[in-house]
Symmetry: C3
Subunit: 415 residues, 3 copies
């Protein structure tokens, strides 16, 4: 049993190396047959132009999402550590499976854009990880990473290539998908001990500050996330500006409503860590549309409000009524704002903000993303519950010491 995790990791890595040996080449090799390689040079130059955006997204995946989840007092090692592990696996598998799906099984020529897309596929798993954080083993997460990214790549293909829907910032294909996939898994893996709150499921002062490191890097680089795969510089510019203004508006409404619903007007760190980011999610789908800065601010403002209300009223309800326990509240940060994003794109199309997209196809994309996610999540949950049965027992939920050597020293010595 002790060997399950290391063996799985080694076998997965060996498989990746073999798959990459057969299928993955440098993009500089693509036209190597042709006599002139000036097309190569151009391609590499275009690739390198994306490098700063790639690095921004990379910071979001590893520092942003990783530290955002460190809010639990005894689960920081796993939050930031298992985040790194599954991201590293996801980047490899995502590169492969996205390449296979988009190029129909032919050789994959790697550019920086593939690396950004692999980061995106990984983000989806990390969002789902937030829903099951503290309740699942690293070995189970490896399995979930492989399955979820495969389903994600299929849905992304359907949304982008068949429906030809717009989703530049991936509100639907990443955020809503990741949230509902994770919630479905969490529902299957539910344990009664979660219902009235688990004693280890709480933060301490400094764990909340560590989580703010994650929040801030996500907040800062979100414009890069929503604009990284834009095809023209005008779209990229529009996506940056819209995301920026959606985020700033979202912060104001999130603070206002956190205080409004709080006891004696007090702010809640959970809202500030998460709901301030909902504007980035919700503006994603129409980030490259001409919704005007004030339109982006309206979307962001609404997302901030909905997200706070979700944390306050919906999350407890989900746990108690539907037996779905959502550790990080991904439904409020990614689920609801992702749905808002899809709906906003429909409104934007009605109002004439986008020429290339169709209302029906946007609706189909939203339906496909949520539907595929729920079905995929349920199946994954069943696999983890009945086949890869290495979940920790409920008393060791939210506890690093099951999987890590944890130092026993106190923060401050009394000498």
């Amino acid at each position: 049993m002790k060997l399950l995790f290391p063996l799985m990791a080694i076998v997965l890595e060996a498989s990746m190396i073999i798959l990459f040996g057969f299928f993955v080449k440098y993009e500089t090799e693509q036209n190597a047959i042709q006599p002139l390689n000036n097309t190569n040079t151009t391609k590499v130059d275009r690739s390198l132009e994306l490098h700063p955006l790639f690095q921004d997204v990379h910071v979001m995946i590893f520092v942003g999402i990783g530290f955002l989840m460190t809010f639990l007092k005894k689960y920081g090692f796993s939050s930031v550590g298992i985040n790194l592990l599954i991201a590293a696996l996801g980047l490899q598998w995502g590169t492969f499976i996205q390449g296979i799906v988009h190029h129909h099984g032919q050789t994959i020529y790697i550019g920086i854009k593939n690396m950004i897309n692999a980061d995106f596929s990984t983000a989806t798993v990390l969002i789902s990880f937030g829903a099951v954080l503290g309740k699942i083993s690293p070995a189970q997460m490896l399995i979930m990473t492989i399955i979820e990214i495969t389903v994600f790549a299929g849905n992304e293909y359907v949304v982008g290539e068949i429906f030809k829907a717009s989703d530049i910032g991936a509100s639907m294909t990443i955020h809503a998908f990741g949230a509902y996939f994770g919630l479905a898994v969490a529902g299957v893996l539910y344990r009664p001990g979660l219902r009235w709150g688990h004693e280890k499921e709480e933060s301490v002062y400094h764990s909340d500050l560590f989580a703010m490191i994650g929040t801030l890097f996500l907040w800062i680089f979100w414009p890069s996330f929503n604009s990284a795969i834009a095809e023209t510089t005008e779209q990229q510019y529009t996506a940056i500006v819209n995301t920026y203004f959606s985020l700033v508006a979202c912060v104001l409404t999130a603070y206002a409503f956190s205080s409004f619903v709080g006891k004696r007007g007090k702010l809640d760190m959970v809202h500030i860590q998460n709901a301030t980011l909902a504007g980035g999610v919700a503006v994603g789908t129409c980030a490259d549309m001409e919704i005007h800065p004030y339109g982006a601010m309206i979307i962001g403002g609404i997302a901030g409000i909905v997200s706070v209300l979700g944390f306050k009223f919906l999350t407890p309800c989900l746990t108690e009524k539907l037996r779905i326990h959502d550790t990080c509240g991904v439904h409020n940060l990614h689920g609801l704002p992702g749905v808002i994003g899809g709906l906003a794109s429909i409104v934007a199309i009605v109002l004439g903000a986008s020429k290339g997209s169709s209302m029906v196809m946007q609706a189909a994309a939203l339906g496909s993303s949520i539907g595929t996610a729920i079905v995929g999540g349920l199946i994954t949950g069943l696999i983890l519950r009945f086949i890869v049965r290495v979940q920790p027992s409920t008393e060791f939920f939210f506890d690093d010491s099951v999987y890590w050597e944890v130092p026993t020293g106190k923060e401050v010595d009394d000498e």
Copy 2:
């Protein structure tokens, strides 16, 4: 009373959305009347070239300044959280008011450069926030943000457009202005309980490490701050090199003098967190002048020394004699080094390092920045003291629990 803050935040955000609806458009719309849009493409391309610099500055505002202020043991949530809140408001109001001032009330076409300038206007408020940290309520900070950015934009217009003074890294218009504005507010809001030190006004080991996150990101990206709005690539290059060498020299002298004035030669974290950055402030005004690397190092070296001496001898004196309590010591990091920056530019002009600027106008710019800041700060302080009277009582200074739900768990459980 509990509703004051959320209502203010909502009303402010609604006002921003309305103002943006009337006044703010994409820069791609600027020449939409003209048949050819190749000028648009060029403009957007120039805008996107600034994107990496914008992101660097953005990291400084949110992570840099936010975490720099987390050194207090019980005020980390407010430091990093209220920093985010007022920055989000400031970015919107700064975009609007700077646009109105510079374009005389006409439509504002948003580019990345506007976003950088909005970050700059926000930095000014955040510097002042450092002077009143722990002694002022979030609702008061919202008011102060609106007033201060308005006054800032006015002074910036006078310095840049009327005096035509050089201040690329904004030693005078941001740093000195922000510091003296904040000190004036702090003076008006002074309470006798601050005189001999407040029991909560201290750090713990890990809060000092969190603050170093802020210091380091500020230090690393300062060359981007000082060069972001350069007009030519040569000026940008010069500003990067000068800032870099000023900062490295400043570190050495700050360490030397921290040890020199310390008990038994010990270093003081307050000096290291702050005085190591004074070189970035002091070289700001002449960052794009041909002061040579060694000239930049002399400026940085002096700034490091002055800043440490300010913390050691001047700050206690300000509190006890002038009844001005400066929580973060912004006078030592931004005030004095900002003045050094203005004076250095005058010396540089005398020595022929700059062709385009005049000694008299630099002196006028320095005087205008400090004078406007003090008058604006005094008025703001009076408004906060007598009109928006929602300051916490002295015993709850430097205490998150007034405005936040604070977790009660200990860092380490004894099981």
Copy 3:
């Protein structure tokens, strides 16, 4: 004695200013004699293209390495603070000495590339600092910085200009060199009290999380480190892709083997903080060679395994048998993976992955880097042991309070 450190720092900084006054100019001044300055414009433009890469490397040096070393419970101030101090000195001395060596004593014209190379020279000292962390005084570190960078520049010149060896990511000239230099110094400064473990040489929960900030920023930006000084865009592209895939593979094998060698399959934070980065080191030398993504993954995978095994079995052995105590385990993160990097480049040349390099010269470069490092480190150690005799006594090893005013408050007040 109390005055030794501040006087050294002031004298060093004054010397730097004098040296820069005589030898260092802007690169825009280089062709100022020529009538047309369009070559200047081009040079500055090329310089600014490197700016984002420079910033990435800069984050690695100050936040990455600085926080990676904060894992010790009572040595965080020194780790991140002395890191900043010696980096600031190293950047100045490295700029000067690298310029002198490469340009044979003529005027040095500063561009962003010089600043990247200065960061590299500094990285070498910071690696060595990891080996002696907690056992050496700031004054001694200033001396070590000056000596080590001088020796480093000499070896770098021999490897690059005389052997004409390939080492784009500097596995040999930075990582192996820095590790063996530091180990040699640590060997000379050994104290018997280190043999069976020092009571202060341990982490607490939050210090391990601070260290993960360092790990993640190093991990994220390593592709920039390995590609920053590439001469063509194709090489830069190849170095980015290879480093990225080496790192992801390394994470999987490091986790697998950490669990494999751990008690009851538990992961060890020391391995995760360090061994996940070994892939970046090991792929450095052949990062720009056509080793294919799967080749990079094999190198990274091996490095992750070797690094974990090194921490588990070799480090205790080095301390007990060879009397070399390696605080951060730099031998496992930089030493062994650096050697793997050199050997991998020889294998890559045998397999035809590189045209420009020769097996013999790569072997000579590896030998020269290790040999020079050991000799240089031994001499430096002897100087520190017998001439600059300001080492702390063993009981104050790994203790900030010798050099810093440390706050006495507890993390959580019990009120």
